[in-house]
Symmetry: D2
Subunit: 337 residues, 4 copies
Amino acid sequence: MSYVSFAAGKPLDFVAVGRLCIDLNANEINRPMEETMTFTKYVGGSPANITIGMSRLGLRTAFIGKVADDQMGRFITDYLERNRISTENVVTDRTGAVTGLAFTEIKSPSECSILMYRDNAADLLLSPLEVREDLIAEAKLLLISGTALAKSPSREAVFLALDYAKKHGAVVAFDLDYRPYTWTSREETAVYYNLAAEKCDILLGTREEFDMMEALGGNPGGDDRVTAAKWFDYAAKIVIIKHGKEGSIAYTRDGASHRAKSFPAKVVKTFGAGDSYAAGFLYGVMQGWTLEKSMEFGSAAACIVISSHSCSDAMPTAEAVEDYIERCNRGEITATV
Amino acid sequence: MSYVSFAAGKPLDFVAVGRLCIDLNANEINRPMEETMTFTKYVGGSPANITIGMSRLGLRTAFIGKVADDQMGRFITDYLERNRISTENVVTDRTGAVTGLAFTEIKSPSECSILMYRDNAADLLLSPLEVREDLIAEAKLLLISGTALAKSPSREAVFLALDYAKKHGAVVAFDLDYRPYTWTSREETAVYYNLAAEKCDILLGTREEFDMMEALGGNPGGDDRVTAAKWFDYAAKIVIIKHGKEGSIAYTRDGASHRAKSFPAKVVKTFGAGDSYAAGFLYGVMQGWTLEKSMEFGSAAACIVISSHSCSDAMPTAEAVEDYIERCNRGEITATV
Amino acid sequence: MSYVSFAAGKPLDFVAVGRLCIDLNANEINRPMEETMTFTKYVGGSPANITIGMSRLGLRTAFIGKVADDQMGRFITDYLERNRISTENVVTDRTGAVTGLAFTEIKSPSECSILMYRDNAADLLLSPLEVREDLIAEAKLLLISGTALAKSPSREAVFLALDYAKKHGAVVAFDLDYRPYTWTSREETAVYYNLAAEKCDILLGTREEFDMMEALGGNPGGDDRVTAAKWFDYAAKIVIIKHGKEGSIAYTRDGASHRAKSFPAKVVKTFGAGDSYAAGFLYGVMQGWTLEKSMEFGSAAACIVISSHSCSDAMPTAEAVEDYIERCNRGEITATV
Amino acid sequence: MSYVSFAAGKPLDFVAVGRLCIDLNANEINRPMEETMTFTKYVGGSPANITIGMSRLGLRTAFIGKVADDQMGRFITDYLERNRISTENVVTDRTGAVTGLAFTEIKSPSECSILMYRDNAADLLLSPLEVREDLIAEAKLLLISGTALAKSPSREAVFLALDYAKKHGAVVAFDLDYRPYTWTSREETAVYYNLAAEKCDILLGTREEFDMMEALGGNPGGDDRVTAAKWFDYAAKIVIIKHGKEGSIAYTRDGASHRAKSFPAKVVKTFGAGDSYAAGFLYGVMQGWTLEKSMEFGSAAACIVISSHSCSDAMPTAEAVEDYIERCNRGEITATV
């Protein structure tokens, strides 16, 4: 059964709007960052990672965002283009903003943290007038991401993108991607997350992220079914709630819930798991696969990324994901965290 | 025919959220403000004026807002109480914010302008956590006003108030009351006005205010029926579009439009016309009157206010409005601008 | 003995730089402001008041400052010109700043307070590039005032004016005029007050103002002679420390201290006492009078102002001050607070 | 002849106040940063580098500054301590500020640039109350640096440190270290640089930096002797003006100018030349050497640093500098840029 349907005949499969930044990943790992002396540079930011993932999986993609007018910004734009992602709506800031940074610290495969630089970040300066309606009109699926809601004018740019998607019949997926930096208060966060979620077809987030959205009331027990039911009263068709090691559950309008099996992995770090999962899952849904098969594909894609040093650069092709699943099925990959 | 219905048995008729400030009205008028030497102090702010109007008309009212911790703030709270408006949700700021000011300039009855002081205004500091759900739960009608959307955290407080109204079955009226101060850009304004309007039952605004809401597209010709139709796709039941001297038109979901006759007035200034009209009209709707009769009542209330020196202090009782209509009908009031 | 000497042959006697604003004085007095309903508008701001005072006393004066591009700003400029003060260096802001306001509350002649509006005030936006060196070059005496040091770029404009004064041989007087609004911390205040005071010939302030300047150490006992001695190590020749009802003392480089007798007054309010005293005292010094006679003249000027409703508008002529002194000497004025 | 004399018997030779940050130096060099994939982390910031240099040369040193409460901040404090620099006045920020970053780009040995992250940098949050008077009282020489003047409250902290230095008889050196980031305007910069320079015994800067200080007038021709003469009217005894490849000139109060020979170097990059020169020169002056010998020592120290990958980490010991001079004298080092 298909829970969402995509407009046929549109030239673009996927467009995302939001955060574009730089990851600086520790080269010397399994130690505190104080003892890490060198870092490797990658493109980062959840919606950028997902777009790179979608492009690697073979879809026609584009990005809507803003980069700094510096070496980091040019590196990002160039990397997207080398990955066959249209950058015609990647705008260059002219106000002296900088590229957001994320230094990663990997103390152990399960103890990972991030040191963020988000002050005066170019991606948050994307303005409504810079969002191209024609690009969204051409896309089957629009992905928005929570961090782009954290500040004006990026926040308004996202709401306008949502209007354009509705007007032109694009399916909208919302990757909650909540990061406490930049936001002023939990109440501010909850208000804008809710306003955006009302307009989305597919919601993906952790239980903690949905709890934050319910900070102003409505579900004190943090019950998944209460959460999902709320959004089915608006536009949502699929609500995926992630419970960490206990796995993810997809709730659907028909009252059903869906789970998929998980795979073993030789984990280097946990960063990027959510982004690769989102790419794999949305890819499956766009292929018309069942939710279970889509979720399984997302899980396998995530296993590949968390076994690697980077996030964006490790996004797998469809063949690599299928190969990973087969090797797991044959028992060739067994290590787990 | 009744276009909106109000919950029976609620203890409060009306609650408004938003701007509370001080008007400093020129005593020496019909000249530029440079030549005005003395000013008289009144409570002001569109939602405050409407609430005072509703209370004078005999309804049970309350206000949700924030005042400065100074002499101006205490004067406002005291004035509301003396007008039998519940101030249990009028919060006092503790950060050193000031009371917004509006100096009025009356060069002639038709040439009026306002010099605004809105920097660090206490009313814009109302936060979501300060909005009392129980108060909104008790009210039949919630009025929101555009200026409260101009800045965080007041903006989020209004969106939360809208949620509470929906949850507890209160009718919501939105007085657009667009003021360019405080807003960063027309796009920002349009985005939040639209997000709020989607959730409202009754919209009141001038043609220019609706044009601003359509600045991002959708109605390049500024056609009233296109404007109204958009909101009927959401929650709206009544959309009133004001065309200045050409009068106001109320559009309704059934495709009808409604006009009412206007009255003559000895105009002192134009300030306060919209607020008294809103109070009179909403009062009529709450009495179950036809839209035409409600609009007529609003127009007469407006005539009384624009014939006086103040806005808030001139808000009439129901008897005064009825008396004004009768005197007009008897031909006793003839002067117009 | 003359403690400071002024360059002969300069076309301007006096130029001041700094705050220009509007006073809104309570018409109904001897009550809390909550109960005051009407206010009268006057030009205000300590350096503006002193300049008006100097002009009334017959000196050739000019002002360096910035006004808002609104009715209040135009009123101020016009008032200065009507008082024969050159406004060629009164710049009009183009950023949307407002005119600072001071609402006065007179609970009793000795219980006076001010409600200030200083957010986004135009006078604090005066920039160094707007200060005209040629104007300072033409002046015998430059007056600076502490409030102009409270924020950039006005702060830098004052330091540049001090440089110009030194370069062109103008005597500099510093009216401390400390107001807590706008300043971030006592330490910030103390640092910039001290940097400015190092470059001034004449310092005037209350004991409390000098205490604030010594907040970072150096005179824990608040001893007047320690205070004065510090500044004589820099450029100061005269340091006047005001002790409220106990009167003022002028300290000089030669180790002497000077006091003058005070006069009775029918006090309406205390506002403006310091400004009129400063104008009268500096006028006397510029006439070559003894410090004692100059201080007496300042005291009499202050008595006239505190017996009136306004500050700026009540600044007396030299004849009026002399007449006041004579009437006091004849025993015709006896009332005191 | 000795131009400055240092107090005997103080326990500390040298204390610096100001910027503490992280350099991220390109590992793959001689290319644009877009093509650099890995970076190595070092302690950076001009006054920090000079302090590390002074400690390596054998002096007893301390630092006054503020670091972020994160891994970068802890790395900096730890690095200083490992270099025997007292960190008792290195304060940890608790407001969520970040560590300033400087990514270096080395396109060729002579084409170097820096990508700065200075938004919300912890070092600029050092407040006056955090500067320890007792530490400055114990030091023979205080170094201040221009970047710490760029913003409040760090700016006020520096002015207070200057007061403490004067009070306790410490010699003050001012390394101009002008960086355009953070400053609002050239006028703002000029005003505070001049106010600080008036209180300093030794000034070191490039011709361009002195030009910026004279942006408000006084030396339109950019003449070195006019520049130096201005400061000799205040507290300065030595003014060093650097002319890039043409070498540096030290001007002294007696009207003399001093030059030293330069040395060949196998240049990797130009970063750090000024800091190592300052450390070497000030070390020489503190040893009582002639200015010529001190300048020569500074030049040789600079050659060592620009031949290395880092700035701070490459700061040489006195033996290494002497050895470098000897090897140059023996003709063993010949390469130049």
